[in-house]
Symmetry: D2
Subunit: 284 residues, 4 copies
């Protein structure tokens, strides 16, 4: 069962979030007889089971905590990491740009810590499917556990394999490359995608992006878009409304492209893409 | 049937996207016997029906177009507008921040042109439900048509009513306020949300945000977050990689909050929210 | 004598910058017989005196340091602070927007730590003059010392006084308000400025800005501009070119305005300013 | 005489700015007997001569204009352009980062339209000097005229020459490269700069930056900084305070570096620069 099913009360076995003062939060699984321990005091799981979401509880030291169902974004931020993870600001835009919704079949390479795998599994729902590839078994093991924690094991097929040999799937709706050298895998990616499907990915450096852009045009991907997303939080004091002092400046460059069927009789089309792209530069 | 169902070929009745040089695109519904007309020439629908997605077709003037299934983001940008619409950059982050996925029940006020309604309907899937309120019947009419075009009519209940009288729903997972004066509707919003549910919205000005922040604390909403998302596109020439010249500077401030159950014995908690919030300012 | 006078070699009495590995730097005044001490080792001032700028020296522990003349920006970052200081990113734009150059007479209120005072004194040169007001004698004392360190004492007149009583100067070219409540001092500011002079300032919150904007129109200031400057650094590895991970998200909103002479016969002009301003919004 | 000398009234021969409704402005030189003509009507120069700065005048059609002394930023925006010009947001930060103030000797290559030449001439004052190189005589001609218009001819030496042959100057305080291939000119630049002087420049693309970064380390430049400045304007309505809708997304990457004297006995220092640079990444 998925972690955020509709229930008004916390039950044995639920994944819950305890939020203390200053918004520090902890995500734990309720188990009768267990205890939640932090430097702000102890709370017995039995005191939480049966309590309504949004309730306030006090630790044995008298410190208040709120009992909440964790959001996907909260879970993502809390995920045990073996590598750089995707942030919610990027995930949200990727999902909507690649049309990833209920029932879709999506390939991901590589798995990493499984943060994006989790987001994909949530978005495609019980009727969709995610195929996640990674060469490193130890890393994928963590992702498998992360997805299981959220009750979405049956939505993800994990594969420990080098994608140089190609993907097993064909005709998938979307394919996401979270790899440092995506330009090496555009052939297999094209083979796995359905006609007119969505290719996407993220890269940290401009050097990688220039390598990829060259390769995308060579492999007949078109409608290429590259962007970055900057998220700025504000202080929430009504009488002193202003941005926070610091922010994340960079996570990565996002890219999107779609495979086209190149017509021999009309040449130079993908080159045009680049040249005339500027007219659409401001769309958001 | 939803507009982007898996098919390799364009069929009669499909919503298709024709993308010309310089990425200008047109979204049309295929109907045998009809013609697509633009200043770049005419294409017969019958020449498109049966063609594989990603194929290139030539207009009678010899101008090339690609035949694609439109993405949700493409459809949103193309939607007939009666009012300011939400942009994909904001929609993606809202959906993930409010845990809106397959099976969720979501209330929206107001409907506007139905751009966000459409995104909600897509994300909650066939097992979820969207309840969309607007007091202006003429505006909602356009939204109803937009949702129908995408084959998602059965996922949305439209209501033409002033929400001052409250919402009909109770225990919804998420509630989104796309209104200029959300501070006036926090009571009804709280009543409609499930315990620990997600409240969200967008506001253009700082003045509106300060009014809302004051009201949120008064109505026992906590874990308030306010942010803005800046999206910057890059030119896609591999040998001249750089940001585009201009960008959208502002669409609105996004806000998120969750209703808590205030415990009488522990005072001043929500005030604390504000004061200690800065420690988490940099999370993204 | 000003700190950055043209000399090829470091001399007794010079303000010098020692930059170690990882760009950590120290600003010290050379004095024969003295020693520079850091956790990376000791360097005798006598070993630095007579050395060419840009030279590398080794501490007694063998750690390398470069001997440089500090830039104004380096000095500003190093200034002993009694309060929030202006950053170089804001200072540069303020100076150019307010036409502050050689020979200009400029009023500043309040002095603060003297970071901006220093930048003003440098820009107006030996033929200009800066008048800096602050009510807090202890704070201004630090600023006086900071300006003296850089050899620009004769370019600044410090005044310890409440500006509610007005400024002593008249006909100044520019006036900068670094105060939390500038809306209370627009009358005196107008009186001090020359016809068509430049008013400027910085404010941290949106709430303060809305108060000020209302007051500016009431006091016949026009051509009001409000902006913010975001500075993003890049990593300087040629093979991994990308923005740094984090950045400053907010220092303050900058505002600029110019006093006009209101003509009784033409009404509603300053109101127009606001309404039609958007047409120029994109200028940079 | 410099264009913005202190005078309370507009005089024959003055460069003046006429600002109409919606902040549209015109910069003209006053000449008795002449007329200012726009679609909003005609104003006789004789009606302006003798008028106080900040005064309102009406065109013959009754449209109001304000008479102002143009700021340097206003002049820069109005400059006749033969090529891409530097924006005030970048100019301000460049001047302060390179310590360009009264009395400094500065080299610029290439001249372009003379916008930055003008800003340099203003900043170094009557005791400083600017040496501006460009290989294209027709382009430099425009710049010479622009500088003359502002009364700063005696502060700039223009040279029509290819800088591959080196600069004539030695020991200059700062050197700015506004060229597409600065990596080709680092040797001559190093020769012209004083020990510990300031090198700076601007480049539009990431590709150019990676070429330059490699070259900078090879030519013993250190303390390399690369950044970009984003300027966001706000609407100035007090009751609807918010950013403007659109903004400039990119002008160029700014870079700064300083020549050091490489000590043979301490190896690998400049490589270290890069690696450890990240610790200072957030400074602004």
């Amino acid at each position: 069962m998925i972690w955020n099913d509709l229930k008004d009360y916390a039950c044995e076995g639920d994944l819950v979030q305890l939020i203390g003062r200053s918004h520090q939060y902890f995500i734990v699984r309720l188990k009768s007889g267990s205890e939640f321990q932090s430097h702000r005091g102890v709370i017995k799981h039995d005191d939480l089971i049966g309590l309504q979401w949004g309730s306030q509880v006090l630790s044995h030291k008298g410190n208040p905590f709120y009992l909440m169902q964790p959001s996907l974004a909260d879970v993502l931020k809390d995920i045990p990491r073996t590598s750089q993870i995707l942030y919610p600001k990027d995930i949200g835009f990727i999902l909507i740009s690649m049309d990833i919704g209920p029932g879709k079949r999506v390939v991901e390479a590589g798995t990493g810590s499984g943060a994006f795998t989790t987001a994909l599994a949530y978005a495609v729902g019980s009727e969709g499917m995610v195929y996640s590839y990674d060469v490193r078994p130890d890393i994928q093991k963590v992702a498998i556990s992360n997805v299981a924690q959220l009750g979405m094991t049956d939505r993800v097929v994990f594969k420990q394999r080098d994608i140089s040999d190609g993907f097993d799937e064909q005709g998938v709706d979307a394919l996401f490359l979270d790899l440092p050298n995506p330009h090496d895998y555009l052939g297999p990616s094209r083979d796995a995608l359905k006609a007119g499907g969505f290719l996407g990915g993220i890269l940290p450096t401009a050097n990688q992006m220039t390598l990829l852009l060259t390769a995308l045009y060579r492999y007949d991907f078109a409608f290429v878009e590259v962007c970055e997303i900057m998220l700025r939080y504000y202080k929430t004091e009504p009488t002193r409304f202003r941005p926070t002092d610091r922010m994340v400046a960079h996570t990565g460059f996002l890219y999107f492209a779609r495979p086209i069927i190149k017509n021999e009789t009309v040449e130079g089309q993908s080159g045009k893409d680049t040249v005339e792209k500027d007219q659409e530069q401001d769309r958001s």
